[in-house]
Symmetry: C2
Subunit: 134 residues, 2 copies
């Protein structure tokens, strides 16, 4: 739950930024939304796209997204169970936001060769393009 963060939103201007961040908060929400933007996925399909997430965590994040109304959860009463996650229309309105986040990440964030660290394109800001080609 992100209520602690939410609680103080009204205390300052600039809050729309924090307000949005409140809903994107949690280690996996970003990726989940990113993937669901491209289409409905079943629980384990999603899980396979996020090799590092545990079942518990995925469930938790999905529940939070569902509670926010950004993602819908449809249970088909069959056996074996079939549960589908999809963006709601409201969730879809986040598309420009997700795209902006993805674009900036693409341009300015590097995973170091070892893949264990993040780096920003810090040197004086030559073109983002150069950063990408490199």
């Amino acid at each position: 739950m992100s209520l602690p963060r939410a609680k103080l939103v009204k205390n300052f201007p600039g809050c729309p930024v924090e307000a949005t961040l409140t809903y994107l908060d949690g280690k996996w929400k970003g990726v989940i939304l990113f993937h669901l933007m491209e289409g409905t996925l079943r629980f384990n399909e999603l899980r396979r796209k996020l090799p590092a997430v545990t079942q518990r965590m995925l469930t938790k994040q999905l529940r939070e997204l569902e509670e926010s109304g950004l993602v819908s959860r449809t249970v088909y009463p069959v056996v074996p169970p079939r549960v589908e996650y999809a963006m709601t229309p409201l969730g879809m309105t986040l598309k420009p936001v997700i795209q902006a986040l993805a674009a900036w990440g693409d341009d300015y964030v590097f995973c170091s060769p070892e893949g264990r660290e993040l780096r920003l394109a810090s040197d004086g800001l030559r073109a983002p393009v150069a950063a990408l080609e490199a």
Copy 2:
């Protein structure tokens, strides 16, 4: 530090979104960036804009932003001390992201009248049609 989050970024596609989020993480970074986007501020000026933040927290968040290279810190060796915080050119590249976050927050997030809760515009989406067309 957001390294735990960073550590797994390379483990999945969609990571540019998470990567960006990594740098925006922390309860106050969003607002701080929002305010600094509009101009340089001294420590206590910033503090007055964020009535709810403690000194310790503000310092911490600013240090992290500085370490990321998004914000610069300039100390004038006078007494009483004068320290100015400003966006770096790299930080400025976040402007579209911050704007996207702010726009979505403005359109879809409400603080309840009592100001203690966040709500999303959930009812079927009468809101900004333009956002949907995009």
